[in-house]
Structures are given as structure tokens and as C-alpha cells.
Symmetry: C2
Amino acid sequence: MFNLKAELGGARRGTLRTAHGDIETPFFMPIATKGAVKYLDNSDFKQLGNQILLSNAYHLYLRPGIEKLNSFGHLHKLMNWQKPILTDSGGFQVFSLARLRKLTDDGVVFNSHIDGKETFFTPELSMEIQDAIGSDIRMCFDYFPGYPADYDVAKKSVYLTTAWALRCKQWHDMVMQKRSKSVRSLLFGIVQGSSYKDLRKSSAQQLLAVDFDGYAIGGLAVGEPPEIMYEVLDNVVPELPTNKPRYLMGVGQPEQVLEAVKRGVDMFDCVLPTRNARHGQVYIRTQQDGLVAQDLSEIYYEKITIKGAIHDLSELALDPFCECYTCASGYSRAYIRHLFTIDDPLAKKLTSIHNLSFYVQMMAEIREAIDYA
Amino acid sequence: MFNLKAELGGARRGTLRTAHGDIETPFFMPIATKGAVKYLDNSDFKQLGNQILLSNAYHLYLRPGIEKLNSFGHLHKLMNWQKPILTDSGGFQVFSLARLRKLTDDGVVFNSHIDGKETFFTPELSMEIQDAIGSDIRMCFDYFPGYPADYDVAKKSVYLTTAWALRCKQWHDMVMQKRSKSVRSLLFGIVQGSSYKDLRKSSAQQLLAVDFDGYAIGGLAVGEPPEIMYEVLDNVVPELPTNKPRYLMGVGQPEQVLEAVKRGVDMFDCVLPTRNARHGQVYIRTQQDGLVAQDLSEIYYEKITIKGAIHDLSELALDPFCECYTCASGYSRAYIRHLFTIDDPLAKKLTSIHNLSFYVQMMAEIREAIDYA
């Protein structure tokens, strides 16, 4: 399933096999939260060279819902996207977005943030939703304790996360064993434990005992300083098996992605490229010959504000050295600034394409650097 | 400049030569009011087979303004669009959108609808703005009397429209005679006169005496019943020379476009396809072998509401017989409905592409039908 092909220091280069094709690692996933990446469609993803999309169980549970997903034939068909999809379990949204009513060892009662409808969300329900979505990589329903978290709360999050991971694994195994191997999904456990070394270690060990297809590191990129993030990685990664992919959820800024790659992480997702794009924040490479240092020591980039008056008459592409659709098609900074000024949606489309391309290209350069070494 | 090639009843088939290339008539212009067609970009226009865009002097005067347009090098360069552009004079917006302060024979004082800034808008200023835009086809600054209009008001609109048309013509001739023929823009006069036959006739005759490159029929599609619109066409078109293109401004629904073509109109623009698209109203052909009857007797289409629950599980393309990007790429009605439900901008992009394609395709079929006859 995961084939490790090369290493450079702690950084890894591999291939992850899924029911919808192989993915070269390390990779970055654009976020199609509700089954769409705002402003972009499949031809844009194709041009980007994007390998996989991430979608979200909580949002798709609310709309269109399990029944419609099952009737229609899963998300790949609905989105018209035939490459891999990873789904988040809904855990993070239940604890951050929904109106939480009650937490028990069995699951969580919440009210929908859309219409207030009450749901008893359980590990089994999360699995059922992800199965209706038909995602290739699925995440266990985990308990995110918030940040910062007291030791006791963090400890409870590890306990519940493991208990729920077991139930997810049982549900998943039971369903998948009836299906042919080629269409089976992968199931990942999520390491919790906040910033506490012993809890993180214990969480990892407990999940390893259950045995998953991959391991995610959750509860990061939630407001903690980068040093804490890196410290957690330094503590957790050595606990994880080398023959399974590692996924750092919700991270992050380009330099954080690089730091995590150097610590042995293989998979990433983050709202930053698209969210920044929609606010006119654009990533620009500062070295003509690439974003990433050959030896993975640095990422050469800066972030510019395209809404600034300085770009008023600029004939430059967003990034003259970028080969994305936006930059290669002749759109000037002056025009994109004008589009932001008149609040035309085309502004956000063009910058979203560029910023996602920046991340996809960065990952391609990281893979090249590891291959080359 | 205008080469009339074939006729079918009153309908005409021709080629209009502009500084940015030839346009086959009759044709429809998507509206890039402020220098962008919401959600769409040049690769979408290319796929559509779109020949020309329409933009607006009033909006581009406010943002980015004459100075920036001149400094940057005109709208074709700003938009990265190398085919023809037609500009409206700003007249309609000054009388409908801006806060009007004072109307004199010399021009109009208005306050910007954005920041309240006061401008004295004159025929010369309209020409100057359109020259900064660098449009291929320019419209004279006209006086739109509103609808319905009393006879006296309509009469005044004809008088002012002619007086201003003369001033536009003088400005345009003076500027263009210094430029080589290949880059000269075309200038169109606009026939006003509301629903009054004698005023429409008089307006047309006065403008003909000034001699323009083409003639527009203004003040229609502003709430009048279609019969009034057709009656005005029946009255005005016979007054216009056969060797000049005729432009029915702001029209309209597909059957109105067909009716106008049959009455000898060559050029159209309308917000309907894109506005309807953004509200989930989609044009669907009802005959597999085409939209337009070979003899121009009928247009076979209906309009469906893609937000309707009936499309919930529909695997159909918006229009299974359509070859536009949206329909040919495998996007289902179920998915587009889902995108509207979650309010994702991709919904509006996909339906806008389809509806514009419907209009562009309808015009292509109309041209074919006339050629074929």
C-alpha cells in the first residue's frame, strides 16, 4: 500500500496506492470541504497536476447527506473527480463548528450549524458517512481537546480517541472484508495528546496496537507556536512505523510543510493557499530556479498583497517564473488588482489557481530533491 | 467595414471588420461590464467560441479610470483579451445607476454611485473614456428618457441624442484621422424616441445625416412588452442603411433575439444568460438536432431551475445535447444543484459557461441557417 522509495535525512519519498490510483509522497491536498474547491473545477486541478482532494464528513453529512450520496453513487461520481479523495472524520468540525450538546464515551450529541438538527455522532456514523462518500483514505473519528488543553483534558482526548479508533477499525474491517481488495479504502488513526510528550507517545502506541493503514498527527495548526508543532513532530514521528504514511493534519505555511517533511511527514492539507488567495495574498518564489533548496534546507518565497496600489500598473504576472494557468496565460498584477477592486469573483479564481499551484509545485520540488539525493 | 453576405427574409448574414479582427454577424456579446465577465476567463471564452465582449464606459471611468487605462495601455491588454471589444457610452448608467444632479444641453452632472464624486459627463468625456479603453466599437453618448416616456420627454431625448452624437462624431473623427486605418475604431449612433413612431424615424434620419459606422436601437428591453419592441424594430430598421451593422442594445430573451434577427438586426448583448445562470436558471434545448429552426421560424428551448429538488439525483448534464465545457465535462445536474445548495461559486461558473454557450451556439445556428438558405 505504501512503498517507501528514497530518503534524505528524515525526509521520505514514496508511493501511496489507493483505490483511485497511486499518489506520490510527500503530497499536499487542496480542500474541497463540501465537495468543491471554491471557484475551481476539474480542469483547473488537471492543469495544477493535483493528485488528490480532501473532503469533509461533517459537511457532507449535513448536505447532501448519506442517503443521497449512496443513491447517487458516492463523491467521486458527484464531483466528477476520478482521482483519490481523503475524508476527514468530522471530529474537528463537531468540536469546533457545531453546537455541541453532550459528550459521552459513546459519541457526541450536536446541533447542526445550519438548521439546528440534532445528531448523535459516533465513530460508526463517521465511518458510515465516509463510506457513503466513498473516499479512498478515511480518518478515524477522534476527540480534539482544543488548544491549549489542560493535561487531564488532553489525557481524556487520547483515551477517547483510542476507544473510538478501535470502533472505527472494527466497522471498517467488517465492511471492507466483503469487498474486493482493489476497491478497499485505507483507514488512518489520528494521534492526539496536545503538547504533552507522554500523552502523544502513548496515543501513538495505542493506535499502533490497533494497526492502521496510516497515521495522522492531529490537534496541531490550531494556534500553537511553530516550535511546539515541531516538538510534537519530533516526539511523535519516531513512534510511527516507517512502512506507513504519516499525515500532518491542517498544516500549514510553506516553511512548516518543509520542516515537517524533514521530520518524516508524507501528507498535508491546509486552507491557507485558497483562503489567502481569496484575500489577495499571493505566494511568490524569490529564487528563479525553484522554490525549494535542493538539500531541503529552505523555501524561497514571499507573500505579496495583490490588492496593494503598487501593482496598479504592473504588467508582471503574479509570479513571472510560475507556470500555473494564471501566470502563464498573460494575466497581469494590474488586472488581478482591478478584479479585486471591483470585487469580481474572477479575482479569487485566478489567485486560488496560482496559490494552489504554488503548493503543488513546492511538493513536486520537494519530491525531486529527495529523489535527486 | 461591414460586408453583407447573405439574406433570408429580413435576416442578414455578414462580416464586421474591426481593429481586432472580423466578427461574423449576427452575433451576441457577453457583458464584461467592469472589464470581467463574472466567474469566467479567457479560456472559457475561447471554449465558448465567443467573438467579442462588451464593456462599459461608465464603470471603467470610475474604476480603474482614464489615467490608469491610458498608462497601462487599454482594456485589451488589461483583460488579456485580444479579440474585439464594444463599449457602451455610459449614457444608460448615468441615467439609471448614478445619482443624477443636473441635465443640460451640454451634458450631465452626476455623483458616482461608489463614492459620490461629482462628474460632468459630456459626449466628449464619453469618447475620451472609450478611447482610453481602446474599444473597437464605440457608442455615442445618448439620452435615455426612461420607460414609459411622455412624448415631450422622448422628443427631447431625440434632440439631445442627435446633438451629442454630432459632438461624439466630431471628437472621434478628429482623433481617428491621426491614426492608421487599421487601428481605427468604429463609432455607432443610437436611435432613441421611445415607442413613438415619428420620433424613432426622425431620430434615425438625423443620425443617418451625421453618418456613422453602424446604428444601434436604444431604449428597448427596459420593461416594455415584446410587441412594442417588435413594433419599434419594424419602424426603425427600414430607415437604416443596409450596408451598415444594426445593434439592438440590451436584448434579450432567445425568442426576442430571433425575432430581431428576422427583422434585420445584426448585433446583440444581454445580461440574461449570465444573470439567470447565477440564479440557477438554465437554458435547455428541446430539440436534439438544434436550437434554431432551419427557416428561422422558432427557437426550441426551455428554461429549467437547477436548484429544484427534482434534480437531486439526476446524472444528466444540464443539457445532454450541449457541447459546452460544463455539459461535455461530465458535471451532473445533481452536482450543480449541490453546489447551489452549499452556495459554492463553482455553481455560478458552471451555469454561466453553459448559458453563454447556449447564446453563442444559438447565434452560430442562426448564421448557419441564413448561410444555408
